[in-house]
């Protein structure tokens, strides 16, 4: 399904919408839907995102699930939320504080009110504010009645009863009737932000086509909510965010995990190798396995292993067989894979490891985000065990970083770790659909080696430029040889214990990874080339840091920003760049992992801005920190 979105066409401050009420025009708005896990907030949020995409805004979303396990209905632990920020400009984060909060029950209100901007709009389902629910949310008195919400503009809507009323004559069970309340809320919010109902109606038809009663109920609830909006008395609740001026082209919505999946399928196509994905389910990486499993038609072999060790073992087997061997997991799984990953380092095999980081240590907070695996993937193996580490910076970038990781893995015959995280995995943004025919093929060097004279074959002889070893998978006559985890003799690959050889091989393994930098883009700096202050970031914080740097610039500070997608090796010019500024600030969602590497490598007194909260960095707080440091 392809639709065409209108282009941004000038801007006025008010306009008149179909409903006849005055519409405020705004540059950017952030809305958060919050309710019980059973209230369908993720669904509502995703529908809103689709409608917003079709409308033509740039946008970014942030789903926030409760812990994996179901919590009791109405409890604080059971609150699920979905935030979306949309704008007439390009945006890079799902926003810090929402302008509008939809709270489907007291627990949702309690958990999320603190985030709402002062004077923001609060839409509450007053039906849910029963004494039982208030108690579950630890409210001593009803906040709708005790004046504690006076700082906000409130729409108290009887969402449950109105939704039930709207579907009354369809003969649904009470439970099913009540379930339509998210569509009622959605309809109301669509009115508030002048979204078109069409995309959602289409979706309802597609999804519930086979259950016409349910489809009809959802439609009715949506219309009823929309109609309810027109009756609202809040003066400036009707708002329009004009479409954004985006690079022309065909767009879709994408999350980081979806982009990983598409990247893998595309890499399989570009290498002309079948994809083998060995994985063991773990939040937030499981969906990569789940989505790939549904793509057998692309020759994808998914293997749900008995554990993470087996998962990487099978991927190593596939890589050894000459295929595109990939394994994916999250932090605890990386810990388990580390011994086998070391085998891939020693045997020098082209292996891709996806690490969708989550909050730790140990089981930690499985559904929350964090950038705390960088040092683990760098150093979490016995012996000197260098490998290549990349990190994606946005949901859509996950796609391109997979291609880059696969290119490096084959060109250098090395394992590569690609870091994503919970935030990237789940957040959605508009993404220009790439043209598969415009993407460069990925070279698979062993295809050429298989045709050389077997006499010239030595499994640990190396390409003089890349130091990639002569990797030839089984099956080729005359090239029979054995590899393994014991130290190998330079060139021949035989088992070797000599001190000199071990030193040489240690050096070669290190140098090979360093040489990747010769085949990587240099780091680009956004902003002044040198001067007072550089903000250096990596991974999923890109959006927040970009936003914060821009905000600080608008506050009058001249600040440079550079963002690392290559963590090991570093870009060739990184040392040069960090030495050109008086101050270097490294914001990270950890206690300073990149900072340690930068300080050790370049001896610059880089400072950290560190949040370890399980949440993506707050652009607002970071802006303050940047301004403070810039002003010092």
């Amino acid at each position: 399904m392809t639709t065409t979105s209108p282009q941004a066409n000038g801007s006025g401050n008010t306009a008149t919408a179909s409903g006849g009420a005055a519409i405020q025009e705004r540059d950017r708005v952030t809305v958060r839907f919050a309710g019980d896990s059973g209230d369908g907030m993720q669904l509502a949020g995703n529908r809103f995102a689709d409608a917003t995409a079709v409308f033509g805004n740039d946008f970014s979303t942030l789903p926030d699930f409760p812990a994996e396990i179901r919590a009791p209905a109405g409890s604080l632990a059971g609150v699920s939320s979905f935030q979306i920020s949309f704008s007439k400009h390009q945006i890079f984060t799902p926003g810090d504080e929402p302008d509008t909060l939809v709270a489907m029950n007291p627990a949702a209100l309690k958990s999320h009110l603190a985030a709402l901007t002062k004077g923001g709009l609060l839409v509450v389902n007053e039906d849910a504010f029963t004494s039982g629910n208030l108690k579950k949310a630890n409210y001593p008195s009803n906040p709708l009645a005790d004046g504690s919400l006076d700082d906000f503009r409130i729409i108290k809507a009887p969402i449950t009863t109105a939704a039930i009323a709207a579907v009354e004559d369809l003969g649904l069970t009470t439970q099913n009737a009540e379930r339509t309340k998210n569509f009622f809320a959605l309809g109301l919010v669509y009115w508030l932000y002048d979204r078109d109902l069409e995309p959602t109606l289409d979706w309802i038809e597609q999804r519930f086509g086979r259950l016409p009663n349910i489809a009809e109920a959802n439609r009715r609830a949506l219309f009823a909510g929309h109609a309810y909006g027109e009756t609202t008395e809040i003066a400036d609740a009707h708002v329009r965010v004009p479409p954004a001026v985006l690079t022309p082209g065909e767009y879709r919505t994408i999350t980081g995990n979806q982009a990983l999946v598409l990247g893998l399928i595309t890499a399989s196509h570009l290498t002309d190798l079948e994809l083998f994905y060995g994985s063991y389910p773990i939040t937030p990486a499981s969906d990569v396995l789940v989505e790939l499993a549904a793509l057998r038609e692309f020759g994808v072999r998914t293997f749900q292993a008995e554990d993470e060790i087996s998962a990487i073992g099978t991927a190593i087997g596939a890589a050894y067989g000459g295929g595109l061997g990939v394994t994916g997991t999250s932090g605890p799984g990386i810990a388990l894979k580390s011994e086998a990953l070391n085998l891939a380092v020693m045997t020098e095999l082209p292996l891709l490891v996806l690490d969708v980081q989550r909050s730790g240590p140990s089981t930690g907070m499985p559904t929350k985000t964090e950038q705390t695996d960088l040092l683990q993937v760098m150093f979490g193996r016995n012996g000197e065990s260098p490998l290549c580490v990349l990190a994606a910076k946005s949901p859509g970038d996950c796609f391109y970083m997979v291609l880059e990781a696969v290119r490096i893995a084959f060109q250098f015959v090395t394992p590569v770790v690609l870091l994503s995280d919970t935030y990237l995995a789940n957040t959605a943004e508009p993404w220009p659909v790439p043209d598969i025919n415009q993407l460069d093929k990925i070279d698979v060097p062993y295809r050429k080696l298989e045709h050389i004279d077997p006499e010239d074959f030595q499994p640990y002889a190396r390409d003089p430029e890349t130091l990639a070893r002569m990797f030839v998978p089984p099956g080729t006559k005359g090239f029979e040889h054995r590899i393994g985890g014991l130290e190998k003799s330079d060139i021949s690959g035989d088992v070797a214990y000599s001190p000199e050889n071990h030193q040489r091989m240690t050096d070669l393994r290190g140098e090979k990874i360093r040489r990747i930098a010769n085949f990587m883009p240099e780091l680009e700096v956004d902003g002044p080339d040198s001067g007072d202050m550089l903000v250096l970031s990596w991974g999923s914080t890109y959006g927040a840091v970009f936003t914060a740097v821009n905000d600080a610039r608008e506050a009058g500070h001249e600040i440079a920003h550079a963002h690392l997608q290559y963590l090991n090796p570093f870009p060739r010019n990184l040392g040069d760049i960090v030495s050109r500024y008086n101050k270097v600030l490294i914001p990270e969602a950890n206690t300073g992992q990149l900072r340690m590497l930068i300080r050790a490598n370049f001896l610059v007194d880089a400072q950290g801005y560190n949040e370890v909260t399980g949440q993506p960095l707050s652009a607002r707080l970071l802006t303050e920190a940047i301004i403070k440091m810039a002003s010092e």
Binding site: T4, I309, A311, G323, K477, I483, V495
Partner: protein, 351 residues
């Protein structure tokens, strides 16, 4: 919902890649010096493996030996085929990934009692359950050889070893029982000092379509000498071993004068010339239920004769058959158009 997509028949065949020219045992031997203690049972197993492969005339470039860590796991170095000496206990996983992505290869796993049943127990269980088409040869010497003599999961309760100076405190596993409980489709046993039987058993395993599990009793003359001598010594073999043959009666004894029959509580020995001779079982390795196979697996010296040979061999589609079948069916049923995939469910145009 349970979907059964039975793999198409041509996928479910066992195809051993055969060499163009006639190869001898030597062609399968690499030029690496073998590094086992003089007298180690591993030497004989190596020789029989090379002979078996030459009997079948497997194409060496299509053979891959994957091993873990242990004395036994040095095996791949001595074979002039492809091979990986991997890490402790994980060979079944590497072999699985290799075989599933390269169905054209013949993949053998070499492992020890520690490698396969201690650190690697879970992988063994799952590779057998999944019926991945790899052949697993467990060299059981009831000891950790490479690390110099600690007990293993097959060491007898109370055994004195380096790490159990006053005897172990744990009961051993029966590798065949474990393999059967893992739903293995091929389960066999042989031993180092009967070259002919070992060769035959290796060949039978190689020809099986699906995961094969072969326990090979192997003497570690340094740390656990004569562990199996009570029944494998030439003088006592005939009396104490039961050589199984599919379709044949379960007879043993120097003059084949004893046999096994079912009793209400398991198996029992009967006189082949006595009144219960008619009750002596015929060995049916292909019976779908592993019940009788489990009974055989648990026959132990001295109460019972020790079974040798193929205990179980049943036909079932392999994991790869199913997987390849799904790919085939889905390719047939669905478009595999990357451009379309990249677009996803819906797109919009910015102009």
């Amino acid at each position: 919902m349970v979907l059964h997509t039975p793999p198409s028949p041509e996928l479910v065949e066992n195809i051993i890649p055969i060499a163009d020219e006639d190869l001898s045992r030597k062609d399968y031997a690499s030029d690496v010096d073998t590094r086992w203690c003089p007298g180690c049972g591993d030497y004989s197993i190596l020789a029989q493996m090379q002979r078996s492969l030459s009997n079948i005339n497997v194409a060496p470039e299509k053979m891959v030996f994957v091993s873990g860590i242990g004395c036994s796991s040095r095996f791949p170095y001595y074979m002039n085929t492809y091979g990986m000496h991997s890490i402790h206990g994980r060979a079944p996983t590497i072999a699985s990934g290799l075989k599933l992505s390269r169905p054209d290869l013949q993949v053998f796993v070499i492992t020890g009692d520690g490698d396969a049943l201690s650190i690697g127990g879970n992988h063994l269980l799952h590779v057998l359950r999944r019926n991945v088409d790899v052949k697993i040869f467990l060299f059981n010497n009831r000891i950790y050889g490479l690390t110099k003599g600690q007990y293993s999961p097959t060491s007898e309760l109370g055994k004195v070893t380096k790490s159990s100076p006053v005897g172990t405190t744990e009961r051993p596993l029966n590798p065949l029982s474990v393999a059967l409980a893992s739903e293995a489709t091929f389960v066999a046993r042989s031993y180092d000092t009967d070259p002919q039987h070992l060769q035959t058993t290796i060949e039978q395993a190689a020809r099986h379509h699906g995961a094969a599990f072969v326990e090979i009793l192997q003497n570690c003359n340094i740390f656990n000498d004569r562990a199996f001598a009570d029944y494998t010594d030439r003088e006592v073999r005939d009396e104490r071993l039961l050589y199984l043959e599919h379709g044949q009666q379960m007879l043993f004894g120097e003059n084949q004068d004893k046999g096994l029959a079912v009793s209400a509580t398991g198996l029992r020995v009967v006189d082949a010339h006595g009144p219960d001779a008619g009750l002596i079982l015929h060995h049916d390795a292909t019976r779908p239920s592993p019940d009788v196979h489990q009974l055989l697996a648990r026959c132990n010296y001295p109460e019972m004769p020790v079974p040798m040979g193929v205990i179980r061999q049943v036909t079932a589609p392999t994991y790869g058959d199913y997987l390849d079948g799904q790919i085939e069916v889905q390719k047939f049923k669905n478009r595999h158009d990357i451009a379309q995939l990249l677009k996803g469910r819906s797109t919009w145009q910015v102009e």
